[in-house]
């Protein structure tokens, strides 16, 4: 060929290898657990134990996590991962908040604990969001995504995790959890097989 340069193109394998290595490297860096690492080092799935975590409570007070209000020690729990900037959360959270308010009226303890995990959200945005939507269930602040991403390996919001009383994961929803789904899971968890 004309214009041949003294520099020969390097083998494709080197390039592909570099790309794979770079992607893996960046990925590992990004998914590095910021909190306590998940016990088996992989993303939780249906049937596995819910990873334990503890987060500061939005608005102050005792910390929020599992096992705690539920999701172990006998009481089932639904973990709702959300953020004020997330689109579908803006219809999901008010609906769940309304259910929780009804169930906890007069100091009653709902059969299923509802625990919010607010990810990567400036505190004032999160507080305003929770206030507007009438959220009374406990919300943990996952400022650096260490639980949402590091522990649960979620890549988007909202996601929710249904946890049985014995601490095993019954279901994972990618996207908003509808009220009918919530009712269905509450029924199934209340009648253990």
């Amino acid at each position: 060929m004309p214009g041949v340069s003294p520099r020969r193109p390097r083998p494709i394998f080197l390039v592909v290898g570099l790309v794979v290595a770079a992607v893996l490297g960046v990925g590992l860096f990004l998914t590095r657990p910021g909190g306590s690492p998940s016990p088996n080092g992989s993303a939780p799935r249906v049937g596995s134990r819910v990873p334990a975590f503890s987060l500061p409570r939005l608005g102050g007070g005792s910390s929020v996590g599992v096992p705690g209000e539920g999701g172990g020690g006998g009481r089932p729990a639904v973990l709702v991962f959300f953020a004020s900037w997330c689109g579908p959360c803006q219809s999901e959270i008010p609906a769940l908040a309304s259910i929780y308010r009804t169930q906890s009226a007069g100091g009653a303890t709902p059969k299923v604990a509802l625990i919010g995990i607010d990810g990567s959200d400036p505190t004032h945005n999160a507080l305003a969001f929770v206030h507007t939507d009438g959220v009374t269930f406990p919300v943990g602040v996952d400022a650096d995504y260490s639980v949402t991403q590091g522990l649960f390996a979620f890549t988007g919001l909202p996601e929710s995790v249904v946890v049985r009383g014995d601490g095993t994961i019954a279901h994972i929803t990618y996207g908003a959890l509808s009220t009918s789904q919530f009712w269905a899971w509450e029924r199934r968890l209340a009648t253990p097989t």
């Binding site: 520099r7 990925g27 689109g87 400036p122 988007g156």
Partner: protein, 307 residues
């Protein structure tokens, strides 16, 4: 046509002053960056972000990319003169002085950083400006004239806008935007090498070691095919990572299959020494359609599934 209406004369005079500065920013490349940023924001939010956030991110991204392109033209003004394709660039024709171009470019970068930081967030601002620094120092100044892998590695700069878009919505980065980054990163070599096949004499004249200028067409086109295979694989991997539905997955498979067939055709023609610039430009044109539709498909998929 030949009318000399004063009003038109004024407009023309003003354009002759502004036009070259617009040309410095390579508006067509910016367009492509925005085509990937907006759908990424929709996927990140799983819905349509507020209009002000989309506008602020796109404007900031365009300013940063425009500044990077202008710095690139400043640095490359010597070789742009030697290449037919770039002979009309404002720094070659003298419409803008090098000093004015550099001032303009750096102003754009400062504006981009301030705009993104003030209206969006610090993470997106840092990402956008580091893409510029990478483009200018790693690609333009270091690799472009030295390595046949110049655009392979330099392509990372063009892939950053998806990280900017994701960070603008979520103020954080996860696996999903990293895979999006990988899609654009792997898409860049087949996209750009197709163009460089058409203009290989230009690159030879300027002694820029773009792969088609220094390697045989068979070699270049076979690398195009290999990258396209990797591209299709990563585009399907994204489906799993981001929990995409049928709309995206089927679109990615079909769009990828067409890309593969076209790339393989170019390779076959090259083997019998019949590949021409025209076929290469057809592949180049399709690569743009491919990326645009792939990102439109992921935005559509997201909106359908979460609404």
């Amino acid at each position: 046509m030949a009318s000399e209406a004063p009003a038109l004369g004024v407009t023309r005079a003003r354009w002759s002053r502004v036009g070259p500065y617009v040309a410095l920013t390579k508006p067509r490349i910016i367009e492509l960056l925005l085509v990937t940023t907006l759908p990424t924001m929709i996927v990140a939010k799983r819905g349509v972000p507020p209009v002000w956030l989309m506008a602020a991110t796109l404007i900031g991204g365009a300013l940063a990319a425009g500044g990077a392109n202008a710095i690139n033209m400043y640095v490359d003004r010597d070789i742009d003169r030697l290449m037919h394709r770039t002979r009309k660039r404002p720094l070659v024709t003298g419409a803008v002085t090098p000093r004015a171009a550099l001032t303009f470019a750096i102003t754009l970068e400062v504006l981009a950083f301030a705009e993104l930081w003030g209206l969006v967030n610090l993470l997106s601002a840092v990402l956008a400006v580091s893409a510029t620094l990478f483009y200018v120092f790693v690609y333009t100044m270091w690799l472009k004239r030295r390595s046949t892998q110049n655009i392979v590695i330099g392509g990372a700069a063009g892939a950053v806008p998806v990280l900017v878009g994701w960070a603008a919505v979520t103020d954080t980065l996860t696996w999903t935007p990293v895979v999006l980054f990988a899609i654009i990163f792997i898409w860049t070599p087949p996209h750009f090498w197709a163009l460089a096949v058409r203009y290989r004499e230009d690159y030879q004249a300027a002694s820029v070691p773009m792969l088609p200028a220094v390697a045989s067409l068979v070699r270049t086109t076979s690398e195009i095919v290999l990258y396209t295979v990797a591209l299709v694989a990563v585009s399907l991997l994204f489906s799993a990572v981001a929990h995409m539905g049928l709309v995206y997955t089927v679109s990615a498979a079909v769009l990828g299959a067409v890309f593969l067939v076209m790339a393989a055709q170019l390779w076959r023609l090259a083997r019998v020494d019949r590949a021409t610039g025209r076929e290469a430009m057809r592949l180049f044109g399709y690569s743009i359609t491919y990326l645009t539709l792939l990102f439109v498909a992921m935005a559509a998929d997201t909106l359908i599934r979460y609404h």
